[in-house]
């Protein structure tokens, strides 16, 4: 008995050792289960799939339809996932951006004012909206890195300013989408599934950036050991500036998507909710708030899990007021698991 356990243990440790052994398939299965369990994204993937299955089985007629899935994945999950990309990068480098939801609010107004009052061509106006997000990210970086204000406070301030600007400049009235931008808008957010496709592309790109490039390595180093990173010669300020700017552009892009999708430019769109949803997605996806570790793929799955809950509860007719309770519990459970697992690992080391 003990011999078989030993043999199995060995097989699990050595990939490709499965075939030829007596209990081949079981061993291979166990091996891949082991590999799977070691992935940080595994838990949230199981949760997301379980939620999708639960609502699919219980509310088949209304939940399982192209219209509902496009609403769930594209209109609800995608904006959370795209903003979460930026937040994950910032959280890993030891910062946070509370203003990104207000970049979301303001960026379509940049496009609106440029096309309507200055006759700027649609594509250029859209690019300017994105550059606006980049600029806000730069200002967030400047105040945080160069002037030394904690990013929580920096972005609280810039967020309020952006909200005030959006409200005054629009006289708190929604604007219609400028006709010149409608064609391009289809590709950005109007067409069904377009937001989700963008989210998948952006998540794929930034997942590679985080896990396979120097930028990702330096982002982890910056949040993991800021002094050590600096001593190793990493320009940690530049990394933080960069991640604030990436977050700004992504926020601006999501703002445009949402405006096109809803066919209106609303000064009350965006705000704190999408930002907090994005941070929630990041946390339940496995990103620690302590800096140095996190996963964009996990945040993407976290966004899908959140969106499934929002959409599923909606369909079941459960009072929407209860949803925040579920999110709160999910955040706390994820964080407790994160911290406790780290403690267990620490103890194992000592």
């Amino acid at each position: 008995m003990s011999e078989t356990t030993k043999a199995t243990g060995k097989l699990i440790g050595e990939p490709g050792g499965g075939p030829g052994a007596g209990n081949g398939t079981v061993d291979i299965l166990r091996h891949w289960l082991g590999v799977f369990a070691r992935q940080r994204e595994a838990t949230i993937l199981v949760v997301a799939v379980a939620l999708l299955l639960y609502f699919s089985l219980n509310n088949t007629s209304s939940f399982v339809s192209n219209a509902n899935f496009s609403n769930l994945f594209s209109a609800i999950a995608a904006p959370i996932a795209i903003i979460a990309i930026g937040e994950v990068l910032l959280l890993i480098s030891g910062e946070i951006d509370l203003s990104v939801g207000f970049i979301f609010t303001f960026s379509p107004f940049v496009m609106f004012f440029l096309t309507t009052y200055y006759g700027v061509p649609a594509l250029l106006a859209i690019i300017c909206s994105l550059i606006f997000g980049l600029l806000v990210g730069f200002i967030n970086g400047f105040i945080t890195v160069t002037l030394g204000v904690p990013s929580f406070i920096t972005t609280l301030g810039t967020g309020f300013i952006l909200l005030g600007m959006a409200l005054t400049m629009s006289h708190a009235q929604p604007k219609t989408i400028p006709p010149a931008t409608v064609t391009l808008g289809k590709y950005i957010g109007t067409a069904a599934w377009s937001q989700f496709i963008w989210a998948v592309i952006l998540v794929a790109i930034f997942h590679v950036v985080l896990t396979r490039t120097r930028w990702g390595l330096y982002t982890i180093s910056t949040g993991g050991n800021q002094l050590g990173a600096r001593e190793a010669g990493i320009n940690v300020g530049r990394i933080k500036y960069g991640n604030f700017m990436i977050t700004g552009v992504l926020g601006a892009f999501v703002g445009l998507q949402s405006a096109f999708y809803n066919n209106t430019i609303d000064p009350l769109a965006g705000g704190y909710q999408p930002m907090f949803y994005a941070v929630t997605a990041a946390v339940i996806g496995g990103t620690a708030m302590l800096g140095g570790s996190g996963t964009i793929l996990g945040a993407f799955l976290g966004a899908i899990a959140l969106a499934t809950l929002i959409d599923g509860f909606n369909i079941q007719g459960i009072n929407a007021n209860a949803i925040p309770i579920v999110f709160g519990v999910a955040i706390l459970l994820a964080m407790i698991a994160n911290v406790q697992l780290a403690r267990v690992r620490e103890r194992g080391r000592a």
């Binding site: 396979r212 390595l217 180093s221 050991n225 050590g228 990173a229 001593e231 010669g233 990493i234």
Partner: protein
């Protein structure tokens, strides 16, 4: 400015890889270094001793380009240099292993080994190449690490120190600065590091300045000793001409003198 040619002549010893001349550094009201003169010969292991707060770490940080001195100069391989950054110093072959090791706990051993010198293929990291090279190199140096894939957080203090040193040597450091490599280390852990330094000494192409507190260990491995007290070097002797006893006496005498002065003024 006019005194420069004269100093060049006194600095003329051809085999010094590093000379520090009249270096001073203040932090606000605190004077960390007053007038430091120090030389390091090729292949030499120099022990830098001194109490906490004597200015040892500041001196190391100036030599490795992390901080700039207020005055004085550094001469590397006969050339006067103004180090602008850690990268600049590294390009001249100067590398430091700090007390905190500058390792990133969350990254794997091989990513730490190649931090800031990553091997890339286009925009992507060449992980396989770095992984294999790290494995080969650590084996070659006799550093016992089970897997280079594990995060450095899971390693022991001695292993972490060894990796930090290996990283510096691997990057072709010719002048290696070790800031308390034996601090908080058990006997076995310390032996790993001492063996590593001994191996480097035998290779002969790396010159080392090592900060340490244990006089016995320092005398055993270093060719020469410099004692730093209150921002000045007060003793410069070959290891064979001094002893644990003498070093202890100097440091204790200095402490007594300071104590008496304080009592007298009180």
């Amino acid at each position: 400015m006019t005194s420069q040619p004269q100093e060049w002549q006194t600095a003329g010893s051809g085999d010094d890889v590093l000379r520090v001349e009249h270096v001073a550094k203040r932090f606000g009201a605190v004077t960390a270094l007053i007038d430091i003169n120090l030389r390091l010969a090729r292949g030499e292991v120099l022990g830098l001793l001194g109490d906490n707060g004597a200015g040892k770490s500041t001196l190391i940080k100036i030599i490795c380009g992390f901080q700039q001195p207020d005055s004085g100069k550094l001469i590397v391989n006969g050339q006067e240099v103004t180090l602008k950054s850690v990268d600049h110093a590294r390009s001249l072959g100067i590398d430091a292993v700090y007390q905190d090791l500058a390792l990133i706990n969350q990254l794997s051993v091989y990513h730490n080994m190649f931090l800031k010198r990553e091997r890339v293929r286009g925009p992507l990291l060449n992980n396989r190449s770095m992984h294999d090279a790290a494995r080969r190199y650590l084996d070659q140096m006799g550093i016992n690490i089970k897997s280079v894939d594990v995060p450095v957080a899971s390693l022991s203090g001695g292993q972490r120190q060894a990796i930090a040193i290996a990283r510096a040597v691997y990057s072709e450091a010719k002048i290696l600065l070790l800031d308390e490599p034996l601090a908080a280390m058990g006997a076995k852990e310390a032996a790993i590091i001492l063996d590593l330094v001994r191996d480097l000494k035998q290779r002969g192409d790396v010159s080392i300045i090592m900060i340490a507190h244990n006089y016995g260990q320092v005398l055993e491995i270093c060719d020469r000793i410099n004692l730093l007290q209150h921002g000045q070097i007060t003793l410069d002797k070959p290891s064979r001409d001094t002893s644990v006893q003498e070093l202890n006496d100097i440091v204790v005498a200095e402490y007594r003198r300071a104590l008496e002065e304080r009592q007298r003024s009180a």
